[in-house]
């Protein structure tokens, strides 16, 4: 598979993306696929009981694209897929912001559902991204900042590793 093809399938960007636009690109002129499955990951306002204010995403340019290309190739080897798109944002994000998009098309839904979940599960444990969260450790009932603000790199979760291993 050419690098150019993967270039179109993978985007690492600071800018936001439009779910509607991405679905339109997966569908435009695509007359063979009856199934379109998309996943969008967003910044939530809580983690481990703390109030999250911002999330900063760092990555390893070059390796990120290479690892995502490998994951997409594995998915295509395993399931019947038409189009694939993976978008991952980097830089500082705030609550409710979109972080990641995975969209796949297939003739039928089973392959599309499975491939989408596989790509997300592998991205979680193999693609070199790291999240740093800014949190407030306590919040008063009226929502004012009553606690201290701190910055932490997130720890990887065993549950993500276990989930990815289910595909092997």
């Amino acid at each position: 598979m050419s690098n150019q093809e993967h270039d179109q399938e993978i985007s690492i960007q600071t800018d936001d993306f439009s779910l509607a636009d991405e679905v339109a690109l997966l569908e435009k002129g695509n007359l063979t696929d009856g199934a379109v499955v998309t996943f969008t990951g967003r910044v939530r306002n809580n983690n481990n009981g703390n109030f999250v204010t911002t999330l900063t995403l760092e990555h390893y340019p070059g390796m990120t694209e290479k690892s995502l290309a490998k994951i997409i190739t594995q998915a295509k080897d395993r399931w019947q897929l038409g189009r694939v798109k993976v978008i991952h944002r980097i830089g500082e994000l705030t609550i409710g912001d979109q972080i990641v998009f995975v969209g796949v098309t297939s003739k039928h839904r089973q392959d599309a559902f499975a491939a989408n979940e596989f790509i997300m599960d592998y991205l979680k444990v193999k693609a070199p991204f790291w999240k740093k969260e800014k949190i407030i450790t306590a919040v008063t009932e009226d929502g004012n900042d009553a606690g201290t603000t701190s910055e932490n790199w997130l720890d990887a979760k065993n549950s993500d590793t276990n989930k990815a291993e289910l595909w092997s």
Binding site: Y60, G62, M63, S67, V100, K124, W130, D155, A156
Partner: protein, 82 residues
């Protein structure tokens, strides 16, 4: 020369994002790790963390992976994207 890069929490702990080594100083990723650990007690402690991951030329590898001149060797914590 071998180019070495660090990311995320590791980069901050080391206060260093990249450095280089003469290619004849190390045969494997583990050799490089040992050379880095020998730099100071602080680095020794940081590189004793067994959860650290390594990559050579953008592919994740194990410690016994061979390295040669021109390679880019990366060390980083477990990934947390998505």
């Amino acid at each position: 020369m071998i180019n070495i890069v660090f990311f995320a929490a590791l980069r901050e702990q080391l206060n260093c994002s990249n450095m280089s080594l003469a290619a004849d100083e190390a045969k494997t990723v583990n050799d490089i790790k040992q050379l880095l650990a020998d730099k100071s007690t602080q680095w020794q402690q940081i590189f004793s963390n067994t959860s650290l991951l390594s990559a050579v030329n953008h592919d994740m590898v194990d410690g016994d992976f061979p390295v040669k001149s021109g390679d880019e060797v990366a060390f980083f914590p477990p990934v947390t994207g998505g």
